[in-house]
């Protein structure tokens, strides 16, 4: 009986002391609470498109990257 009580109390204290892996994470210290991404290079679903999967009223092709390239070439850096 005493043994069972001690086990139950220990289990209670241990379960209450559980904390998220985020709370102890340091800079550059792996994925933290991000359980689904363990690879060194993270692969996102659908790139980083904010409207991924959202139906469009007018289907349009993705925007050309030329303006960005031009901006990159013309920028001060």
């Amino acid at each position: 009986m005493k043994h069972r009580l001690i086990t139950a109390l220990t289990a209670l204290v241990c379960s209450s002391a559980c904390s998220s892996p985020e709370t102890a994470r340091t800079r550059g210290d792996g994925p933290g609470a991000d359980l689904g991404n363990r690879d060194p290079i993270v692969r996102m679903h659908e790139g980083s498109k904010p409207y991924a999967g959202t139906p469009r009223l007018i289907p349009t092709p993705p925007p050309p990257l030329d303006p960005a390239d031009q901006a990159d070439r013309l920028s001060r850096r």
Binding site: R25, R27, G28, P31, A33, D34, G36, P50, A52, T54
Partner: protein, 265 residues
């Protein structure tokens, strides 16, 4: 994992041009207005007002003027997701839509998000909001797609005064430290860094140079993780359960004693 990357924002050189906001919207294809409706703030030159699902960057205008308008001060700050080292939003996301990238940044995957809004409540900075088009939670991705191609994020690229600087955290901290020293030597003793060290949520990957208290800029002075209440909450729950159980036992014992008394002739 690549070296942690982030932003250092020197608020003292921000001119409030909002080029960063425009660049962010342009690159991420965010609408200029919410459903075509232009809403003016009515009490400020700042008409975008806050970070939300369609404003992933926001230049705060802190306009401090006395009643007589003779003197005044403008504090300008380009606000964005802090990409916390200990991210509250990532911690609470039930669908694992929020991920941490190899650059130590925090990104929401729109196609995995179910719009539960748990991250909105968890974020101590009020950064995340629902995008009305996709109905999912959205925020700054630190231009993850640009980073993967070796490019600088759109906002810092567009900043004309280099108020927003992008780079490795190590390099940015050195740069920021030197700037604080320069300002303090020039007499601005209140200049300090917000979120550069590890004390605040393990460090913010987007940190700021401020010249007043964080509250003045609408930033929490001591942001916390939502799990900070986990241990005391669990212990109080156990205590409460034990107490309720004890009360039940005592009440049933009394009722039993009464029944025995009534049964006696």
């Amino acid at each position: 994992m690549a070296e942690p990357m982030g932003f250092y924002t020197d608020t003292t050189v921000c001119i409030g041009c909002k080029a960063c906001e425009v660049a962010c919207k342009e690159w991420n294809q965010l609408p200029a207005t919410n459903g075509g409706v232009n809403t003016l703030s009515g009490d400020s030159y700042d008409n975008t007002r806050r970070l939300d699902g369609i404003h992933w960057r926001h230049v705060k205008f802190i306009e401090q003027f006395p009643e007589d308008r003779k003197d005044g001060r403008w504090l300008l700050m380009s606000d964005v997701c802090k990409h916390c080292v200990q991210a509250a939003c990532l911690e609470v996301c039930p669908t694992n839509a929020i991920i941490r990238t190899e650059f130590d940044t925090v990104v929401i995957q729109s196609d995995v998000c179910n719009g539960c809004r748990a991250c909105i409540a968890a974020c101590p900075f009020g950064v995340i909001d629902i995008n009305p088009v996709s109905n999912t939670a959205q925020k700054c991705t630190l231009c993850y797609d640009r980073l993967q191609s070796g490019m600088e994020p759109a906002c810092s690229k567009a900043c004309p005064t280099d108020s927003i600087q992008f780079g490795t955290i190590r390099e940015l901290r050195e740069r920021a430290g030197a700037r604080v020293q320069q300002l303090q030597n020039a007499g601005e003793k209140r200049a300090h860094l917000y979120g550069a060290d590890e004390k605040m949520l393990g460090g913010l990957n987007s940190f700021y140079l401020l010249v007043d208290k964080p509250e003045v800029y609408g930033l929490p002075p001591d942001p916390k993780m939502p799990t900070r209440n986990l241990v005391p909450g669990s212990l109080f729950s156990i205590l409460g359960a034990l107490l309720v159980g004890l009360i039940g036992i005592v009440n049933f014992r009394r009722r039993g004693a009464g029944e025995v008394k009534e049964a006696r002739p």
